[in-house]
């Protein structure tokens, strides 16, 4: 298997989707941010020059342009670049794309993809660091993909483009350069299928996006101490693989939910609620959440780093739970 970056795998997923279906187009070319991976998107333009658009800064208009195009037989990929900018298109995301299929009694489909980068990225501050997946998850009708690895982003990207629903692919800005093995065959990862990234019997670390990478680092260290942590990668929030969560909790009885969205009404809050309702009897100790504290993201590196989810925070929480 070849080892490639998350950014290259995303581009490969996009290219294969566009090759497979001529109605797929890309509107917006800041898919890979402004860092060293940025030029990789030119591979898409080189291969499909007629289907790549450099749009104006008009997030709301662009979002609904994509929605209208999708209702009318195309499969656009609309890129917001920075996840925070999707907030400008919130009405279009939640009150157009998310509700059209239901309000039309199943007659209208909105088969499209929104791409964006989320999370702490170094100096993004309070207007470039949002992780909008929890806010989006508060609205029915939208599929939400939060990959953690090159393999996942490629396989999930293809599934997202093929899906007949509006699907947000939300990539962590700090995952773009992370390398990993990606199968060379033509694979697709079904939306709604989580994955056990590392099996373990003592404690479940439930995470998505970059938090999976952090959880795996923590699990390595915990293993050295004799604590075997199971790392569950949700991969998509909507649809959600509840079975994989509950199965892991039933096996370990101890849970830390790790996620970069805000603590209040965040991803970790929802997962914790699901576990409390469906697997309370399996719990040997209270559920712990490691989420972003409820403060706006500051620009100062010192302050921003305080908010980051680190292996140390996970290890400390694990020690609390297993009584070390």
């Amino acid at each position: 298997m070849a080892k490639i970056s998350y950014a290259q795998a995303l581009v490969d997923g996009m290219r294969e989707s566009m090759a497979a279906d001529t109605t797929v187009s890309l509107v917006g070319t800041n898919v890979l941010g402004l860092g060293p991976q940025r030029p990789l998107i030119e591979q898409v333009r080189d291969e499909f020059p007629d289907r790549v658009f450099d749009p104006p800064c008009s997030e709301a208009g662009l979002a609904s342009l994509g929605i209208g195009a999708a209702m009318a037989g195309a499969r656009p990929i609309i890129d917001f670049g920075v996840g925070s900018f999707s907030l400008l298109a919130w009405c279009q995301l939640v009150a157009e794309a998310g509700v059209a299929h239901h309000m039309s009694g199943g007659q209208i489909n909105v088969p499209m993809v929104f791409t964006m980068l989320h999370g702490l990225r170094g100096g993004g501050g309070g207007q470039h660091s949002h992780s909008p997946q929890a806010m989006l998850w508060n609205n029915p009708g939208i599929e939400i993909v939060v990959p953690s690895s090159p393999k996942d982003v490629k396989g999930l990207f293809k599934a997202a483009v093929a899906s007949n629903n509006p699907t947000a692919i939300i990539s962590h800005a700090r995952l773009l350069g992370v390398e990993g093995e990606v199968p060379e065959d033509d694979f697709v990862i079904e939306l709604g299928s989580g994955e056990i990234k590392r099996p373990g019997k003592d404690i479940s670390l439930i995470a998505s996006s970059r938090s999976v990478v952090t959880a795996l680092e923590a699990a390595d260290e915990l293993s050295g101490e004799g604590i075997e942590a199971e790392v569950v990668d949700l991969r998509t929030l909507s649809p959600l693989d509840k079975d994989i969560i509950l199965k892991s909790v039933n096996n370990t009885g101890r849970v830390i939910v790790i996620d970069e969205t805000n603590e209040s009404c965040g991803v970790a809050a929802e997962i914790s609620a699901i576990i409390s309702e469906a697997a309370f009897d399996a719990l040997k100790s209270p559920i712990k959440r490691i989420a972003r504290p409820n403060v706006p993201v500051p620009a100062s590196p010192l302050l921003e780093n305080c908010l980051d989810i680190t292996p140390d925070k996970i290890i400390a929480a694990a020690h609390d739970l297993v009584g070390n």
Partner: protein
């Protein structure tokens, strides 16, 4: 030169919409239609004249006062009524209601409760048509309130930039909800909003179905020939206020009478009779027939079953 058949088609369309809206008013007053209903009465010339300039597979996107566009594009009256009163056989199984009626069979991307919602949707449909090379055109209907929505400017820019086959149709009925449009809108004449993007822009009489048809036909031809978007403003009037039940204390009698004297239905009737195309008695007969058809559709809808609450989780996601 329009044929007698075409003119009668306009007449039939406008009378059908007027009769339909009177039934909706009754349904709402009887407590059958949930929420607010916004009647198209008074604006019929715009919807009918514009849709008559389109092919059946051209797209439209409409607004909250959108029953007329659905009818003009060819939706079935009983299923429209059914949706407005929340019945299972309505276009959206009773989930959409008056402001969210989608009918893909007539290439209608929906009436829309978001002020300005139709503008980028039609622009996107035009992008899709262009990318797929289908030759289809898209029309966005929107009210004067949208003249002050930012998304109008975002959409005009992209439509002009990419020369998309879209026609922007502003129905200026003088009021955004309960506020006179002139009190809240800078930049006269409003057609300048299109001109700012080098989009051919024109104002015409929205109480004259022939004027609307002519202006939209010209714009549709431009779009279909690959010459890009047009921006049209039609001055018109909403007889029933913002919604059924709006007492319209903000209007004076003089204004109301002026607009009633310009009503598009008698205007076309007078022209047809004066031109000896048809006798007034024949038009009266046609009116009566249309009324019977519309009332029958309303009664049909009232007999349709209520939605099934167990169905509510269906169609949140497409297969």
């Amino acid at each position: 030169m329009l044929t007698k058949d075409k003119l009668l088609e306009f007449y039939r369309g406008m009378v059908t919409i007027r009769a339909f809206e009177e039934e909706v008013r009754k349904m709402h007053n009887a407590g059958l239609a949930p929420g607010l209903v916004h009647l198209y009465s008074g604006q019929e010339a715009v919807g009918v004249g514009a849709c008559a300039a389109l092919n059946s597979d051209d797209y439209i996107a409409s607004h909250h006062r959108g029953h007329g566009h659905c009818i003009a594009k060819g939706s079935e009256l009983d299923r429209l009524f059914a949706e407005i009163i929340g019945r299972r056989s309505g276009y959206g199984m009773g989930r959409g209601g008056s402001m969210h009626i989608y009918d893909p069979a007539t290439f209608n991307l929906g009436t829309n409760g978001i002020v300005g919602g139709s503008v980028p949707l039609a622009t996107g449909a035009a992008l899709s048509a262009k990318l797929r090379g289908t030759g289809q055109v898209a029309v966005s209907f929107f009210g004067d309130g949208v003249l002050n929505q930012g998304i109008l400017f975002e959409s005009l820019n992209m439509a002009a930039l990419w020369s998309l086959p879209v026609v922007f149709v502003c129905e200026n009925n003088g009021y955004g909800e309960f506020t006179e449009i002139d009190d809240v809108t800078a930049g006269r004449p409003y057609a300048k909003r299109g001109e700012a993007f080098d989009i051919p822009s024109e104002k015409a009489d929205g109480m004259d179905v022939l004027a609307v048809h002519e202006a939209v036909s010209k714009a549709v031809t431009r779009a279909r020939n690959g010459d890009g978007p047009s921006f049209l403003i039609f001055d018109t009037y909403r007889y029933s206020g913002h919604h059924v039940g709006d007492k319209q204390e903000y209007k004076d009698d003089e204004e109301r009478e002026l607009w009633l004297s310009r009503d598009p239905i008698p205007k076309l009737a007078d022209m047809l009779v004066a031109g000896k195309k048809i006798k007034q008695a024949e038009l009266d007969e046609l009116d009566a027939k249309i009324k019977v058809t519309v009332i029958a559709a309303a009664n049909q809808a009232k007999k349709m079953p209520e939605p099934d609450a167990d169905d509510l989780a269906r169609h949140i996601y497409a297969a």
